[in-house]
């Protein structure tokens, strides 16, 4: 029995925040090295063109210019940017040179670069590079891209792959179904907007290389840089210093990382690249961009029989690290929290002349959740019941877990009833419905809508064997090492790579409880392949669910080691010891040795058990057996000004069940930010290309990101149904808010507009689109 307050569950302020918020830390762009050069990239102004002529000679003579390179100058040396997820055997993975050599395929693709003594001179000299292009037709629309006679983005056409999945007999489920709902939803293209832009610094001592990058994936990056450039892996050290957000956009091996490394190799000097925001909008991989055709078959009273999904996913111009896998991460989630007999999923990846897409917060699951949650509202509307009632009729009941879904997964635990009851009470559901009826009766120009989303998602990427069966190139394990320092302080070396999530705090809390050391005595090392050689990095809400378990297991091993020393020093059998409050105690006596005393004794090594290696440190690599399944109920009340089309979220309730909680403050932050990002997709954000393939949303005046001033207060609460698939009972919370909120908001908006006969508004549901829908036009 412990007498000190447990660290797990405490709303600790994050220990890394002072440093991150003040910027007094090592952001990649803060790094200054002696003799460092700066690279600027010349980017294609054309969506699709052949490169006829490149002349860099004039640029070479510009002030401060050290070198100028085009794609041809690197030739084969630059390799091809990797795609680690060939989802089918016959997938088309086009060659993807970091700098284009013969054809450009999206606006923003790098074609040449200037290396100069400062950033400004590098940018100035770009103007002196001459390139002649022969324009080719832009390919922007997925349906047109797949049509007969379409301009091929790559030799061999515009289809990258078709991937299918199914369970049960979907044909039978739809045959003679009394109710069939068929809808098409468009997941607009989004631009991930991390607060810190991408940045890379590469340096060399002539033989080996250090690459600093604002990346989420230092470990994967190291392997991939080696594979792409041919520089041996052991000659590359990758460091992700403090990284200011990613949302998936820094889960990538970018052209700029590869090229900055190769330039430093060629010139033998340190080289830095930092993107501008506009450059980032053009060339950070984009998110979403899918056209979803979803069909539901149900009985007359709305009990689901089956779901069919036919998806087109815009890959953009190339396949990047996990581009083709993103729709697959959603494939298993279209059945949501619901029971049914059959499920059928088909997805086709399509090439267009736009920036490639890849992981963006939620990666596949927000898209899936949106489609099923929107379609469930349509089913409710069709048969004339409340959206919550249709969900009750179909969801998995809490006593039915573990439950094998038609989506092919086994949900270990959940309690949708409890989360929904809690949410309804906090929301005041019945009162809002009454107000809605009143406004409708009065023909109030401001209408009220109520939206529901009962979501679940899969977290904790991932059981390695599952990834293997999906043809992903790597595993899903995570590693941690615990080092006991002589003074009893603890270093945690984690393979996860935080970029704003607060791992230093959360891992310290886990270690403090497990080893009985003070929270402040724990330091967390991360993001450097030299100090943390093993890891799979941070994305997909995996860090706690996989990496946190590795930390816990490594602590257990340290305690096992320490126990042997304690038994020796206390002259008892290990079985006679119990571990409480940071000390091994001989049961029934006062005799005890603290973990700090044992650490020091082990360091001194004067008196250790026979044959005992003088160290307590231990590492653990955890490969999860199963995914975890956070779930929850989000409710949104929205007011729509029907005269202007403007909508305003009036109240928002989020009840999430993410299992056990290590730090409620961190959870709160993730939920708030996640909801904001989901609302952003529903109402604000969209990457827009014109008919020539130029990106129009290159600045924040055009690509609108809501701020705190635009968002309502969120009412958040939790129910706790611990995961059974890991010893902490945790499920992951990094993406839940984003996954849940988009459909809640759009369902609310459509509910507000339903007196006008409106059943859908394209996202983002801008005031203009809403106004046009009310006018009876298409949005």
């Amino acid at each position: 029995m412990s007498t000190t307050e447990a660290e797990i569950g405490r709303a600790r302020r994050r220990k890394e925040d002072a440093r991150l918020i003040t910027g007094r830390t090592q952001w990649t762009d803060n790094i200054q090295l002696p003799g460092m050069l700066h690279v600027a990239f010349l980017r294609s102004p054309m969506a699709h063109a052949r490169i006829i002529r490149v002349d860099v000679s004039a640029a070479k003579g510009q002030p401060g210019v050290v070198a100028v390179f085009s794609g041809q100058d690197f030739g084969d040396e630059q390799g091809s940017l990797p795609c680690a997820w060939p989802v089918t055997e016959d997938i088309v993975i086009p060659d993807h040179p970091p700098m284009a050599t013969s054809t450009v395929r999206y606006v923003g693709e790098a074609v040449a670069c200037v290396i100069a003594t400062d950033r400004y001179k590098a940018a100035d000299a770009l103007d002196a590079i001459e390139i002649d292009y022969e324009p080719l037709p832009a390919v922007l629309d997925m349906n047109e891209a797949l049509a007969e006679g379409a301009t091929p983005v790559h030799e061999g056409g515009n289809k990258s792959f078709t991937w299918k999945f199914g369970t049960g007999d979907a044909e039978a489920a739809f045959r003679d179904a009394p109710v069939v709902i068929e809808r098409t939803y468009v997941q607009q293209r989004l631009i991930p907007s991390a607060m810190e832009p991408r940045a890379v610094v590469a340096q060399t001592d002539g033989d080996s290389f250090i690459v600093h990058s604002a990346t989420q994936i230092p470990h994967i990056l190291r392997v991939m840089l080696a594979a792409t450039t041919g520089i041996p892996e052991h000659k590359i050290r990758v460091i992700a210093p403090d990284v200011g957000g990613g949302f998936g956009s820094k889960l990538q091996v970018t052209a700029e990382e590869v090229l900055t490394l190769l330039i430093s190799k060629r010139l033998g000097r340190p080289v830095k690249w930092t993107e501008s925001r506009s450059e980032g909008n053009l060339t950070v991989h984009h998110g979403r961009d899918q056209i979803q055709r979803i069909s539901l078959a149900a009985s007359a009273d709305g009990v689901l029989r089956g779901v069919k999904v036919d998806l087109l996913a815009d890959m953009g111009a190339y396949l990047m690290l996990v581009t083709p896998g993103i729709p697959l991460l959603g494939a298993f989630m279209y059945t949501g929290v619901y029971k049914m007999d059959a499920y059928d999923f088909t997805c086709t990846g399509v090439f267009t002349t736009k920036m490639p897409t890849d992981a963006y917060r939620g990666a596949g699951r927000p898209e899936a959740t949106y489609a099923i949650e929107r379609a469930m509202d349509e089913l409710a509307h069709e048969i004339g019941v409340d959206p919550l009632e249709i969900r009750r009729r179909n969801w998995i009941k809490h006593e039915e877990f573990p439950y094998a879904t038609a989506g092919g997964l086994t949900y270990d635990s959940g309690n949708y009833e409890a989360a929904t009851d809690r949410a309804m009470a906090l929301f005041g559901y019945d009162k809002l419905r009454a107000e809605q009826a009143d406004r409708r009766d009065r023909n109030d120009p401001v209408q009220l809508g109520i939206g529901v989303s009962t979501y679940t998602e899969m977290c904790g990427l991932a059981p390695s064997r599952v990834l293997g069966s999906l043809r992903y190139a790597a595993g899903g394990w995570e590693h941690a090492t615990i080092r006991m320092l002589p003074t009893g302080k603890v270093e945690v070396v984690t393979g996860t790579s935080p970029h704003g999530q607060g791992h230093e705090t959360a891992w310290s809390q886990i270690v403090a409880d497990s080893l009985g050391v003070p929270f402040d005595d724990v330091a967390v090392l991360h993001g450097d392949t030299a100090s943390s050689p093993r890891g799979m990095d941070t994305y997909g809400s995996r860090s706690l669910v996989v990496g946190g378990i590795a930390v816990l297991q490594a602590c257990e091993k340290v305690k096992e080691n320490a126990k042997q020393v304690a038994a020796h020093l206390l002259e008892c059998a290990p079985e006679d010891l119990e571990f409480t409050d940071g000390a091994f105690r001989v049961r029934g006596t006062e005799a005890a040795k603290t973990i700090q005393e044992i650490a020091l004794a082990t360091f001194a090594a004067h008196d250790l058990p026979e044959g005992f290696e003088p160290q307590l440190d231990a590492g653990s690599t955890f490969d999860p057996e199963a995914f975890s399944f956070p779930h929850g109920t989000h409710l949104c009340a929205i007011e729509v000004d029907t005269e202007t089309g403007e909508s305003k979220i009036r109240s928002y309730v989020a009840v999430d069940d993410i299992g056990n909680v290590i730090n409620p403050l961190i959870v709160e932050g993730q939920v708030h930010g996640g909801i904001a990002q989901g609302i952003a997709q529903a109402l604000y954000e969209e990457a827009v290309y014109d008919s020539d393939g130029n990106l129009l949303t290159t600045t924040m005046a055009d690509y609108l990101i809501p701020s705190a001033a635009d968002l309502p207060d969120f009412t958040t609460a939790r129910t706790v149904t611990p995961a059974t698939s890991n010893p902490l009972g945790v499920k992951g919370v990094g993406e839940a808010g984003t996954i849940a909120s988009t459909p809640a908001v759009v369902n609310a908006l459509v509910d507000a507009l339903s007196p006008y006969g409106i059943r859908d508004v394209a996202m983002p549901c801008t005031p203009e689109r809403v106004w046009r829908a009310i006018q009876g036009g298409t949005s």
Binding site: R119, D124, L696, T699, A701, I705, A709, E768, W771
Partner: protein, 287 residues
């Protein structure tokens, strides 16, 4: 992006600044006020001035003066200072109301009253206010000083009547006297964003009806525009809307406008908004 290189000078009097401008005649020199519009243009390399003349250290260009029949707002007074000025709040509250809706606090602490006028962005909030209040601009060059009414100041998209050697010193805002009410109705998608459409309204009330009204529109053309046809219909409209007289008067707000098209709104939607927002602005001004 990062700007191309430029010369930088920081005079300490307006005369000095005017002299530098005169000497630079022919070169592409730019006055730098708060930089909130100019620096983005430089950073995006949409402008390549050879030199910037920073007006930031010229004390006489700052502040608000309460004169007999007008308030003088000096060009380099920041938006934040304007919003917090007791004189502005009391004597020309429409300026304070509109300025408080410009951008966000960070931009308001650097951006200036004069910079907003000189930049003449049709989506800027203050030019419409200048029109509605019949402000008069004071302009200095090496040749001397002249004044120009707001109605002649805004010439085209990002273009004013300011000549290359001229510096905007500030604006006289006429005091309108008793009985006037004001409102600035701004329609935008995020809190710190530019207006899709904005309406500045000043309304004089007598005996429960509107006796005189001024309405000017933001972002309904390449310059701010006065909605004269609405103004003509306002006298006699009851303050507490009786039988839709106000709606009727506002319905012509978009007449003779040529609103722009952009990612946030196409022209027909802007015209519709102008009508709806004009009614709201006048109603709130009259309340």
């Amino acid at each position: 992006m990062i700007p191309a290189s430029f010369e930088y000078v920081r005079p300490s009097t307006v005369e000095e600044a005017a002299q530098i401008l005169r000497n630079a005649a022919g070169d592409d020199v730019k006055l730098l006020a708060g930089g909130q519009s100019l620096l983005p243009l430089l950073r995006l390399r949409l402008a390549y001035p050879a030199a910037l003349i920073d007006l930031g250290r010229i004390d006489e260009l700052r502040g608000v003066r309460d004169e007999a029949d007008h308030v003088f707002i000096a060009a380099m007074t920041t938006h934040d200072e304007v919003v917090k000025s007791a004189v502005v709040q009391e004597q020309c509250p429409l300026v304070a109301l509109a300025t408080a809706q410009v951008a966000d606090p960070a931009v308001r602490h650097r951006g200036t009253f004069g910079g907003s006028m000189a930049h003449a962005d049709p989506a800027g909030d203050l030019p419409a206010v200048a029109l509605a209040l019949d402000m008069e601009f004071t302009i200095l060059s090496a040749e001397g000083t002249r004044t120009l009414p707001a109605s002649e100041f805004f010439v085209d998209y990002l273009e004013t009547a300011l000549g290359p050697g001229e510096i905007l010193l500030g604006a006289k805002v006429p005091k309108l006297g008793a009985g006037w009410g004001f409102h600035y109705e701004k329609f935008h998608r995020t809190a710190q964003a530019w207006a899709i459409v904005g309406v500045a309204a000043a309304v004089k009330r007598e005996n429960g009806t509107i006796s005189e009204g001024r309405v000017a529109l933001t972002n309904m053309g390449s310059t701010p525009v006065r909605a004269f046809s609405v103004e003509r219909r306002l006298p006699g409209v009851p303050v507490a809307d009786g039988n839709g007289e106000l709606r009727e008067a506002a319905s012509t707000a978009a007449n003779d406008t040529e609103p722009p098209t952009d990612l946030h709104a196409r022209p027909d939607y802007r015209r519709h908004l102008a009508v709806v927002l004009t009614e709201r602005a006048v109603r709130k001004a009259a309340a």
